[in-house]
Amino acid sequence: MTDPLAHRIAPMPSRATPASYPPSSSGSLADILERVLDKGIVIAGDIRINLLDIELLTIKLRILIASVDKAKEMGIDWWEHDPSLSSRHSGDPLAEENRRLRAEVEALRRERLDAAPQSPAEGDAERHEGIRSGDATREGRAS
């Protein structure tokens, strides 16, 4: 009962105790990207990244999340109303359901990966114009 090891192993961090404060230099990528891409002072450089490009990236990710949730709900719905899923299979229908959902999630994930690299899709094109370059475009023909 009195396992000596039990006393040596650090207890699980309880939620009531102060969380450890990670130094922000090793902060999570999400936290760092949020700040260096979306916060900070914006100065009109000769080249700079327009905020809109970044927002576009974020919005894409959000759309993906919404789709997966929806797929799950639809999954439950199919399963309730499709007798083939609740009885016919010799295997576990829930496992089957699980497989279908996983396949769907995987398909969505692939869709996103496929979509991501080809940047200038229709709607994106004009936002990418937000990356400005060179003196010529900015000042050369100012007046």
Binding site: R15, A16, P18, A19, Y21, P22, S24, S25, G27, S28, L29, A30, D31, I32, L33, E34, R35, V36, L37, K39, G40, I41, V42, I43, A44, G45, D46, I47, R48, I49, L51, D53, E55, T58, L61, R62, L64, I65, K72, I76, W79, E80, H81, P83, S86, S87, R88, S90, D92, P93, L94, N98, L101, A116, S119, H128, R132, S133, G134, D135
Partner: protein, 318 residues
């Protein structure tokens, strides 16, 4: 040294400080380039300076950046390098972090930009002196039951006390069980009681229980937010609410992010601020409060009214 064509990359505006240049010795920025100071050209005055490095034009021109910004590996390295320079500076002086990838054709053009906005930079730096930014996020704790666990639980409790509750949602129930029975007898005759709920009903029941637990956690999150507003926020000079973090980058054991705020806290109140946040999370087991920082004042660097910026802007962010 500057033989190949280069661009001037600006990390931050920094308040002039004695021997600031010495503190940068050995510091490397994006692309491992050495970091230096660029002063406005008037010696002797404590004017704000740019913190810069020279980067190869070929890799940082507009066309190159377009494609590189979609490479998450490159983006991460660059973002961390940018951030590390800024973070290192905060140990020596007050900084206004610049957004990633602010580039000038050369030092002269950067210097012109610095001179042009010197007054605004000075004013902002004065406001931010001896303050640091802290990130405060509230997470709904990750659910114990994952999609994999639900079926397992459902199978482990083959009684049907909650059938009434299910009926409303499953009008197709009679047919479903009629179809279910013949096959069920042939297959699971010896083990399963015949009145066991179908896996579907058990699944729905588990989902409903999960839903209630979830609502409870949201309630706790609201309580946490109220407490943070009541006991931690008064210690801060400014507050900004950021959009909650979602998406693959934030996926993990943290759970769902429902609150994401940044606080600008005077250094002398930093400890009290953290203690207040610890207190805010007490007795709320369904949520987690995460504090990050101290950060350079990224969320407060813009000179427009900081409290109203970013999140509450009514313009189109759709």
């Amino acid at each position: 040294m500057n033989g190949e064509p280069g661009l001037t990359y600006v990390y931050a505006v920094a308040a002039g400080a004695p021997r600031l240049d010495e503190s940068l010795t050995g510091l490397r920025g994006v692309g491992d380039a050495p970091v230096t100071l660029l002063d406005p050209g008037r010696s002797g005055s404590p004017a704000p300076v740019f913190v810069v490095s020279r980067v190869p034009a070929g890799e940082w021109r507009e066309e190159a950046l377009r494609s590189r910004f979609e490479d998450l590996g490159w983006l991460e390295d660059t973002a961390r390098a940018h951030h590390d320079v800024i973070q290192a500076l905060t140990e020596h002086t007050t900084v206004l972090p610049l957004r990633l990838a602010t580039l000038y054709q050369d030092d002269d053009r950067a210097r012109a930009a610095l001179r042009g906005q010197q007054a605004a930079f000075s004013a902002r730096l004065a406001l931010l002196a001896r303050h640091a930014e802290y990130g405060v996020k509230v997470y709904i704790a990750a659910e114990a039951a994952t999609a994999d666990d639900i079926p397992a639980e459902a199978r482990a409790q083959p009684t049907a006390p909650a059938v009434d509750g299910i009926r409303a949602e499953a009008p197709a129930q009679p047919t479903a069980s009629a179809v279910d029975d013949p096959h069920g007898e042939g297959r699971a005759h010896s083990t399963a009681p015949t009145d066991a709920p179908s896996p579907g009903r058990a699944y729905l029941r588990a989902r409903r229980a999960q839903h209630h637990a979830r609502e409870d956690r949201y309630l706790q999150a609201r309580q946490a937010a109220d407490r943070i507003a009541a006991i931690a926020a008064p210690l801060a000079t400014h507050t900004v609410r950021h959009p909650a973090q979602t998406g693959p980058l934030t996926r993990g054991e943290n759970g769902e992010n429902v609150l994401n705020e940044a606080y600008l806290v005077p250094d002398e109140k930093a400890e009290a601020f953290r203690m207040a946040l610890d207190e805010a999370g007490q007795g709320l087991p369904g949520i987690r409060i995460e504090v990050t920082g101290p950060w350079a004042p990224y969320s407060f660097a813009m000179s427009s009214a900081p409290a109203a910026d970013t999140a509450d802007r009514p313009d189109s962010r759709s």
